[in-house]
Point group: C2
Chain length 531, copies 2
C-alpha cells in the first residue's frame, strides 16, 4: 500500500505503522478522488506526541515576534496558493468556489491567522494583572505541552485542524499543535500543512511545532486524548465523537474544548411575522440551505406562531424549499446521519412538509422542512431537538408568546438562539419574555438575523452551554478570547524584576494593556522599593 506521507517531527514521512488507507470522495459523484492517505497506528501517534512534547518548552520560550511572523507568513502562503487550495477543497467538499471558498472562507482563515498574530504582538491574550501592594503579578502563559486539534468536515479552511481557529489559537499561545485532519478533505489539509511547514521553516519555529496526521481509529484516538503529555484538546465535530474524546481527556485532567452540536432555535415574534413574514421566509431558506445546511449554526428549529401570518410564512418557506434541487452533502456518512436524524424527528411526531428524500448521484438530500405543534414538541423535547445536520429545519407552531417561552425553556444548551422582532416596536414586550427563557441556554443571542455567519471578533461567542460545547465559559472563535483556552494562569509572587516575563516587568515599552491595581493602563509601572 502506498500512501501520502505524514508530517511528523519536522519531516514528511511514511507512517511507521500503516493500518489502512483511504481516499477522498467527490461528493457530487461519490467517486474516489486524489491519492491514498494513511490510517496510522499507535507508533505514529506516539512519534508525533513525543516530538511535540519535546518541542513544547522551546516553543513556549520562542519570542512572540517569531510566533506572529509564522502566523503571518502562513496567512500569506495560503493567499499565494489560494487558487489551488480552493480547487482541492471544492473537489473534496463540493462547497461552491464562489463565493464560499474563495471569497468567504479562505479570507476568513487568513484573517483569523493575522488576528492571532495581532493578539500575539499586543500580548492581549496574556491578560497581565499586577497588584503592587501584594507583590503579585499574573498572566496567561503557554501550556508548555502540545495541543491536539481535531478538525470538522464542514470548514476545510477556517476550522481545519492545521489552519483554523483552534490551530491559530494554540500556536498563538506558543503550544505545539498535533493536527488530526478530517478524512473527508485530506488533500486540502495536506496542502495547508505544506504551506504551514514552509512558513515554519522560514520563521524558525521548532520543527515539531506543527504536525499532521490524517486518520486513526477510535482506540488510538482515545489513547492519545488521555495521554498526560497533552496540554489540551480542541475538537469540532459530532457529539458522540467529541464526548468519547472528552471522557478520555477528563480522566487524565486534560482540558478538552469540544464543540458538539446545536439546533440554533429561531423565534419569530408575532410582530416581525406580521411585518415581514414573507421576507423572513426567504432569509430563513437562504440560511438553512447555504453550504447545504452543513453549519454548526444552521437554523435547525424555527418557532412560528399559529394563525394567518405564521401560515403565510410556512407557505412561503415551503415554496422556497420545494423549488430547490437536492443539496450535495460532504460524505455518505453525513447523508446517512441526516437520514437518521430526520427519521428520529418523524418518529417523534414531526411531519415532513417538503423534501425528506435523497438525491443522486453522490451524496444528496432534498432541502427539507418538517413541522410539529408545540404541545407535541413539549412532550418529546429531547427527540425533537435531534440535530439533523444538513439542509433541514423543524418548524414548531406555538399558540402564543407564553408558549414560545415554554418552548425556549426546554432547549438544551445551544450555540445560538435568535429572536426576530418588529421594527415598529410591537414586539418590545414579547422580546424579554422569550429572551429571558432563551438567554441562559445559548452562547450567542441574536437579533433579527440568521445564526449562520460567525464573525471573527473579540466580542464573539462561538460556544455555549453543554451539550453544545463541553464548557459554557469559552469561545472557539474570536481573538484573543479563543486563545485563552490553550493557556495556563501563571502568578509571580515577589519574583525579582529581572526574572519576570516581558509583559509583567515594571517597564512597558510596548504599551501592553495591563490591569494594575484595578485599573487598565498601558504605561510603565513606577519601580517599587526593592522587593
Amino acid at each position: 500500500m502506498s500512501t501520502q506521507p505524514l508530517l511528523v517531527d519536522g519531516d514528511w514521512r511514511l507512517p511507521l505503522q500503516l493500518l489502512g488507507a483511504f481516499r477522498a470522495e467527490n461528493p457530487m459523484t461519490g467517486e474516489p478522488i486524489g491519492p491514498a492517505y494513511p490510517l496510522c497506528g499507535t507508533a505514529d501517534v506516539e512519534a508525533a506526541l513525543s516530538a511535540a512534547a519535546a518541542a513544547a518548552e522551546a516553543l513556549a520560550a520562542t519570542p512572540p515576534e517569531h510566533i506572529a511572523a509564522f502566523l503571518e507568513a502562513y496567512a500569506a502562503g495560503i493567499e499565494a496558493d489560494a487558487e489551488a487550495l480552493v480547487e482541492l477543497a471544492h473537489a473534496e467538499t463540493a462547497l461552491p468556489k464562489q463565493p464560499r471558498l474563495a471569497a468567504v472562507e479562505l479570507p476568513r482563515t487568513t484573517n483569523q491567522l493575522r488576528l492571532a498574530a495581532k493578539a500575539v504582538r499586543s500580548y492581549a491574550w496574556t491578560q497581565p494583572v499586577i497588584d503592587t501592594a501584594a507583590g503579585l503579578r499574573a498572566h496567561r502563559a503557554p501550556l508548555s505541552k502540545p495541543v491536539l486539534v481535531f478538525g470538522p468536515n464542514n470548514f476545510p479552511f477556517a476550522f481545519n485542524a492545521i489552519a483554523g481557529s483552534d490551530f491559530a489559537s494554540a500556536i498563538a499561545a506558543r503550544n505545539p499543535v498535533i493536527a488530526k485532519a478530517h478524512p473527508s478533505h485530506p488533500a486540502t489539509s495536506e496542502r495547508l500543512a505544506q504551506i504551514a511547514f514552509a512558513a515554519l521553516k522560514q520563521t524558525g519555529l521548532p520543527p515539531a511545532s506543527v504536525q499532521l496526521l490524517y486518520h486513526f481509529d477510535y482506540g488510538v484516538g482515545a489513547r492519545l486524548a488521555g495521554d498526560a503529555r497533552l496540554g489540551a484538546i480542541g475538537f469540532t465535530g459530532s457529539r458522540a465523537g467529541g464526548l468519547a474524546l472528552k471522557a478520555a481527556a477528563d480522566a487524565a485532567g486534560i482540558p478538552a474544548y469540544v464543540e458538539l452540536s446545536s439546533v440554533n432555535p429561531v423565534f419569530l415574534l408575532p410582530g416581525a411575522l406580521a411585518e415581514r413574514g414573507v421576507a423572513l421566509a426567504q432569509e430563513f431558506f437562504a440560511s438553512c440551505t447555504m453550504g447545504s445546511g452543513q453549519f454548526c449554526t444552521n437554523p435547525g428549529v424555527v418557532i412560528v406562531p399559529q394563525g394567518a401570518d405564521g401560515d403565510a410564512f410556512v407557505v412561503a418557506a415551503t415554496a422556497h424549499f420545494a423549488s430547490a434541487a437536492p443539496s450535495v452533502l460532504f460524505s455518505r456518512g453525513v447523508l446517512e446521519h441526516l437520514q437518521k436524524g430526520v427519521a428520529t424527528l418523524r418518529d417523534a411526531g414531526a411531519a415532513v412538509l417538503v423534501g425528506g428524500s435523497v438525491g443522486e448521484p453522490g451524496f444528496r438530500y432534498a432541502p427539507t422542512l418538517l413541522s410539529v405543534d408545540a404541545d407535541t414538541f413539549l412532550r418529546a423535547p429531547q427527540a425533537l431537538q435531534t440535530e439533523a445536520f444538513g439542509p433541514v429545519s423543524l418548524l414548531v407552531r406555538v399558540r402564543d408568546v407564553a408558549q414560545m417561552a415554554q418552548v425556549a425553556q426546554v432547549f438544551e444548551g445551544n450555540l445560538t438562539g435568535t429572536l426576530y422582532s418588529a421594527n415598529d416596536g410591537s414586539d418590545d414586550a414579547a422580546w424579554p419574555v422569550v429572551a429571558h427563557a432563551l438567554r441562559p441556554r445559548v452562547g450567542r443571542l441574536i437579533g433579527n438575523r440568521m445564526p449562520t455567519g460567525v464573525a471573527v471578533s473579540a466580542a464573539m461567542n462561538h460556544g455555549g452551554p453543554y451539550p453544545s460545547t463541553g464548557h459554557p465559559g469559552f469561545t472557539a472563535v474570536g481573538m484573543p478570547a479563543a486563545i485563552t483556552r490553550f493557556t495556563a494562569l501563571h502568578c509571580y509572587d515577589h519574583v525579582p524584576e529581572e526574572q519576570l516575563p516581558h509583559e509583567l516587568r515594571d517597564r512597558n515599552p510596548d504599551g501592553i494593556a495591563r490591569l494594575i491595581d484595578g485599573v487598565w493602563r498601558t504605561d510603565d509601572l513606577e519601580p517599587e522599593a526593592p522587593r
Copy 2:
C-alpha cells in the same frame, strides 16, 4: 435520633431522610463535642437541588446592588459574631484563636466577601467586550444554575462551603449555592449559615440562594455532582474525593473546579543557603508547622544542595523540628492519612531525620523531617511526591543546580513552587535554570518567601496544573478572577440596545471598564446608527 436541622429552601428543617448522625470531635482530646448533625440522603439532596434550580433564574435577575448588599451584610454579621465563631472553630479544629482564627482567617473571610461585593459593584467580573463594527457585545453572566460547594477541613472560615472563596464567588456571579459543609466543623458551619441566612432575609435574595447540608455518603454525592441541573462544582479537599466528584460532573458536562493536592517544592539556591541558611531553616520550620502544617500550600518538599551550607541548614531545621511538641491535627482521618503518607515516603527510600511518631491525647503527630538523595528521588518521583498533609516535609539533597533543574522537571502539577536566591546576586544565573523547569509545573512561582499565606488579590493564582487542580486556567482565590469560574460567556449579536444588560448598553453611567474595539474604556459609547 435527633439532629440539628438542615438549611433547605429557605427553612431550617429536619432531614427528610436521616441516614445517620455524627458529632464533631475535639482534636485536642478526641472527645465528641457539640450536638449531633445529620447524614442526609437522596431526598434531602433532591429537595436542595430542586429549590436551588428553581431559585436560579430569579437570583440571576437580581440587581447586582442587592447581591453586593448581601455579601456585605454577611461580612458584617460574621464580624459581629466573631467571638462565638472563633470559639466554635477553635473547639472543632484546635486551630489557635490568636492570631490564626481571630486575627487572620476571620478577617480574611470578611475581606473576601467584601472584595466579592466590590467586584459585583464594579462589574469587573463580567468583562464586557464590545465590537462596534461587528455589532457584537459579550460579557460573563450567571450560570443560571446552582453551584455545589464542598468545603475542606483546613479553613473553617475562609474556605468554608458557606462562607469562603467558592461561596463568595458563586454568589457574586448570582448563582445559588448548595453548601456541603466539612463534617469536622459542623457547628462553625451551622453558625455561619445562620448569619448568612439572616443577611439573605435582610437583603431580600431568593430564599433558596443559600442552603446548607452537613454530610452525605459517597453515592449520594456522586449522584448530585452528576445532575444536569447543576451549573458547576467548587471543591477543595482530598485528591481521591475530588477526582470522584469530577468524574461524575465531567460525564454530565458540568465544570468541576477541584483543588486537590500539592507538595509545593521549595528550592534553596546555593547562594541563598550560604548567605542565610540558618535563618531559612527557621522560616521553613515556621511555615511547615504553622496550622499543624495543614495547608494546601505547605512546603512539603525542600530541595537542598549537598555540602556544608546544606548540611548546616538541615542541622538547624532538624533542631527546630525536634524542639517542637507534637502538632494537633484536625481529625483521626487526617492523622491516619498522614501516617500512610509518611510510610509511603519511607518505603520509597526517604529516611526520617526527626519526628515520625504520633502523640497523645487526641490527634497528634510530631513535626517530621525526612530526607532523600536526589538520585533516589529521580528514580521514584511519584511515590516521593506523596502529599503528607500535616507538619511534615521531605528534604531532597541535590548535587548541584543542574540536578535541581532535573528534580524540578519531574514534579507533577503543583499550586506553588518557590526559589530562594541570594541578595548579592550570586544566584542570578542559577535562577532561570531552575525556574525554567519549575514554571510550567506550578500555578504560583514564589521568590524568597514560603508558600503558606495566600493573598486575596486580583493577581493571585491559587490554582495550578493537574493534579493540583482539575484545570490550569483558573484560580480559587482572588477577586474578580475566582468569580469567572462560575460564569457563562454570553454574546449579544445585533440585539436591540434596550434589550441589552446594563453593562453592555451604550451609556455607561457607572464607569464600568469595558474593552471597546480593543481599548479598555470607562466612558459612554456613542450610539451607532440604528441597528
